[in-house]
Symmetry: C2
Subunit: 756 residues, 2 copies
Amino acid sequence: MRKRQLLLSLLAVPMLALAGEVASPNGNVKVKFYCDAQGRPTYEMTYKDRPVVLPSHLGLELAKDKHASFGLNETDLMDRFEIKKEETSTFDETWRPVWGETATIRNHYNELAVTLGRQWQEVRSAEGGAIGQNIRFYERTILIRFRVYDDGIGFRYEFPQQQNLNYFLIKEERSEFRMAGDHTAWWLPGDYDTQEQETQQTKLSEIRARMQQAVNWGNSSVAVFSPTGVQTSLQMKSDDGLYINIHEAACADYATMHLELVDAQTKALTTELGGGSNAYTPNPAPSDWPLPQPLTFVSHLTPDATGLKGAMQTPCETPWRTVMVSDDARDMLSSNLILNLNEPCALDDTSWIHPTKYCGVWWEMIVGKSSWNYTDEFPSIKLDNIDWQKVKPNGRHAANNEKVKRYIDFAAKNGLDEVLVEGWNVGWEDWANMWKRDVFDFQTPYPDFDIKMLNDYAHSKGVKLLMHHETSSSTQNYERHMEKAFQLMNRYGYDAVKTGYVGDIIPRGDHHYSQSMNNHYLYVVKEAAKHHIMVNAHEATRPTGLCRTYPNLVGNESARGTEYEAFGGSRPDHTCILPFTRLQGGPMDYTPGIFVTRLKEWSNNDSWARITIAGSLALYLTMYSPLQMAADLPEHYERFDDAFQFIRDVACDWDESIYLEAEPADYITVARKAKGTDNWFIGGKCDENGHEAVVKLDFLDKDRKYECTIYQDAKDAHYETNPQAYVITKKTVKAGQTLKIKEAPGGGFAVSLMAL
Amino acid sequence: MRKRQLLLSLLAVPMLALAGEVASPNGNVKVKFYCDAQGRPTYEMTYKDRPVVLPSHLGLELAKDKHASFGLNETDLMDRFEIKKEETSTFDETWRPVWGETATIRNHYNELAVTLGRQWQEVRSAEGGAIGQNIRFYERTILIRFRVYDDGIGFRYEFPQQQNLNYFLIKEERSEFRMAGDHTAWWLPGDYDTQEQETQQTKLSEIRARMQQAVNWGNSSVAVFSPTGVQTSLQMKSDDGLYINIHEAACADYATMHLELVDAQTKALTTELGGGSNAYTPNPAPSDWPLPQPLTFVSHLTPDATGLKGAMQTPCETPWRTVMVSDDARDMLSSNLILNLNEPCALDDTSWIHPTKYCGVWWEMIVGKSSWNYTDEFPSIKLDNIDWQKVKPNGRHAANNEKVKRYIDFAAKNGLDEVLVEGWNVGWEDWANMWKRDVFDFQTPYPDFDIKMLNDYAHSKGVKLLMHHETSSSTQNYERHMEKAFQLMNRYGYDAVKTGYVGDIIPRGDHHYSQSMNNHYLYVVKEAAKHHIMVNAHEATRPTGLCRTYPNLVGNESARGTEYEAFGGSRPDHTCILPFTRLQGGPMDYTPGIFVTRLKEWSNNDSWARITIAGSLALYLTMYSPLQMAADLPEHYERFDDAFQFIRDVACDWDESIYLEAEPADYITVARKAKGTDNWFIGGKCDENGHEAVVKLDFLDKDRKYECTIYQDAKDAHYETNPQAYVITKKTVKAGQTLKIKEAPGGGFAVSLMAL
């Protein structure tokens, strides 16, 4: 290699006065874009002329790449930019989701696309020459695209293919969101590996003080990176009543974004964990970039095992960064902004994708009454070394023929489509928290689970089994077995799989929300689609609307689900927050429907669910999902069969959805019209303070009458002291009437309106 | 989680006087084992009562594991051991390799298996109690097994399944090899990602001073970790004429071992690169363990992306650590110790595995005259976005129908079994050094490579094509495509694949020789076996005899191969060292046979091969491999067709092999009897100083005569000035005669002895 001396110096760029501005179709939302005096890309956002995002910078910091050829190890994509071109356009189309809250979705926005150029020069001595003899100029072009909707904006970075920007490594994305006030925020501690914490509600300025408590809460944090780092989707409310939500859309082969708040005490932005590889040491941390103003969120991506945030090849683009806004909280819930920012459906045939109601052999293991594993005989197991016919059963294995048949019978009798069975396959003896690579083969049933017989039995009753693939986060192992696992599913007639990613990732050192893991999750969805398999991924990264493009991604967990009711419980307002936060990116397999909330009644578990039965019914409406579980035991539903009637009746796919009432962490009331029918269902859920819902039935067909069944909390119902007190009333109603329904503390209500 | 206070303290272990000793079957090699005053496992090794390994300690340092339950985060497996049991035994069997240097191999050793126990106690306060109230004792058991052969020893650690040692993480293995003198050593800089450097020859005490030069040499080092770190197999010679070799055997799901020399300047053992994950921070480096005596090698394993050296589950064991010894250098070459320490063949059917002579579309790309890639049109490509029928060819693509047919014709005419074709599949446009994940699909041929036609054409002439899978070290991508890639091979009739691992590993942060990568290489071999495919893995970890267990692993590169003759060249003594070092663990696909050594004669490449034509012929004998390439261009062989006759004739599988002369880095002479025949072939290779070989033909059948053809350097031949000067003589010989053959500087000779 030739010796060379290298100096990089920045060119003085002549600043142009160019600035772009674009308003939403109704004019309520406006975005202004310009480069500031240092050439930093800068944007501002308003809603009805009130500030939503104060002037904030955009840019990325690249990592040095040992592979980059001479002159191309410039790492700054933050300043010295010049606006090269601005283009505005309008888009308006209406599309039909394969499943969803509405039959059609309008995608209507105005767009501003700004092309930015950045030059730098490199001065080096030629072999034997003097410094300055050999000067070369380089230029890179990036593009920032804004789409402005009536309920918010999306923007992203685009990197065209070009000689001087071909492959690059991301040290950090530096997208800023400078808030206009000290808003109230509903937030989770930023974490590279979990999003199952309880939501915190504080002012922005109080995040730092609350962080330690938030992290300790329920012991569910894993890899927290900053005292002011939070997750998206982040719901906020300003003192003057603006609802603002920051999230992202279409995060596919890119790291999941967190937000790090610059507050009065911030001295430096927390970078990452330190590189693990000698090949790449991208972190001369902390970055010497100047801190933005206080109350500014800065993007913070999830690193991979090397500490890098992304490895990119042009042409490419980042996910959309979204800021939703309204002065009406209901608009936060009815917004389709994130779905609209995703690409159209990529599957030619979607006829095999169907909304699904299911029950499953699951809750009794979560509660601890029975086990996923078949034997307790060994301190650990190696799959190749065990003769499962000869091992000693522990007598607590739930996924046995008798029990599964019981669930199949229950599903068939109650019109449920599928039965999930967890613990059907060998490997559960030491599956969790061992960082074990070869943990499951996804092929071999336990001896007491007759896979052929049970599938045949289910099919004979019009029911399907729902497959379960816990990966234990050994994604390498899963990818090795996946094709054969899907073939097995096809062979026996499964059409949906619940996947799981509990524990530390293998390949070791990686994180749940890194670029490579996000690629893995989508790889699974795409491979599953080839086999006509629907995917419901648990512990995977939080959704960002990719279900528009891959509608076989019918569900995700990616938040604190019902299982936590058996792990100490969740607060009563939890489900009044999730629709504003977690559900923005796509449906959650929340697994509602716990009727016997005191687990002690039937197990040794002291935990209890902070919800009434009527509240549980409401979740089938307020927590939209095309995949809805009836999570409690069949015998519990049989005890409350009149209430269970609502779960039998309720749809899980919709032609229309109308959010009637909403306030984050307080209450949500929604009416939905079942797909292809004139039947409506209404759900209302409230927090620990109770609520009186006022439901004007003006959405009903004016020419029809409806048989109305109301499932509501009894007068003395209470999530703690009297959760099973409900009242069911029936009457005939018509359009224009008003229902006033009292919801108990931690309660709710459900209504079915069957067209007569 | 309950709060607890934790103190670990070591028990005073009553030291037992137990000590074990075991000698090899002929008594030449002896091993003594005991625990020293600190309870450190200690061994010594002698050869004919001369010291080979002075008292050296054994042990492992574990990493703290956040998953370990209370009391089980004790990380010391180094001292305070007590000998619990000693067992000695004898083993003697003769087995038949599927292919090899001899028809049968005798595995004869005496064994000493020592069971060691280590107790520790943990003192903690109970909830509210005083410290000391709650004491628990723990014990772990490990086993160290020695096998003592007449030509060396192997030992390994075994970890039985037990309550207190179930899953564990290795921070470092601390196996010591204390040398008895300042030996001459032939070494490569220790490196986590390459073994393609030139060998250094120095005294042990000179390693540190030579390291920087060694690392710079030819720019081939990638991830060097210590100023005294070297690779195995490490060949040494003592001042009093003992040949000593340290390597390992049966390294499967474990990190590759390097050796770090403690010399007079060593202040601390270099640990690793720093953890990349917050989940595991195993490195309070440097270790505070006391340094051993100078001139002691200490094992240094290859880390993964987190800096960890291994994740283990009991029952398990380490690879064998081997020390070969003799006072005759030829014994180093004829030893089967490493193969013997591997497990017997794991494949039921090996009928499809066959030694192979091949040529290939390869050397002209290495030299730079033609290209692997088909087009130069794009700065980079994404496989999904290219219509290969429409791109502009660069006109230099070698793997085209016409050229491949030419090679097939050449192979058919000359009795070569297969034709390797590199660059047949799309993706070569930006395959290397981009850290690109989705780099190849291993499915799609370039438009000018008609895969069906070419395979049909080859088969019609009794020849097979040899598949090529360059992974660009994106093992994740390879594992995703491998099954379909093997299916494609089966479909078209390929039965062997050359794999490649150029560049940085994906999953990012991992290293070529880590536990996870070693698992990957073997995974490929096992999956290939299911498809009856032989594997020849380049840039993979150095072999450790696993080809005994998986004989479809017919070759590896794992050292500086012939390609370096086009990258600046290798020293003339290079091939007189490799059989002592790299070849100890298994055959190398060295790709010999360069006849036109001055590349400038037919290309723009200034490099030249430092070897004569007669020397090139010798390599087919001295560099044992069941896979032998004739690497030069057909037209070059046609120019020297009389010399090429030897390559046509020479076998590549053997019933018998006799090393006649040997001295590391000087010369090697070997005679081999072709499998299932009475024909013998002899090869002699020397360094830059020339050599006169004296070959007593006393191994021939006394009742037969042989047609003897001698290919030798002409009198004035020289690797630099006159490499193509050779003389071919024919005569009839019989047992008892002696051949005296002069080898030119950088030359050699080859002899065929056809039984009459």
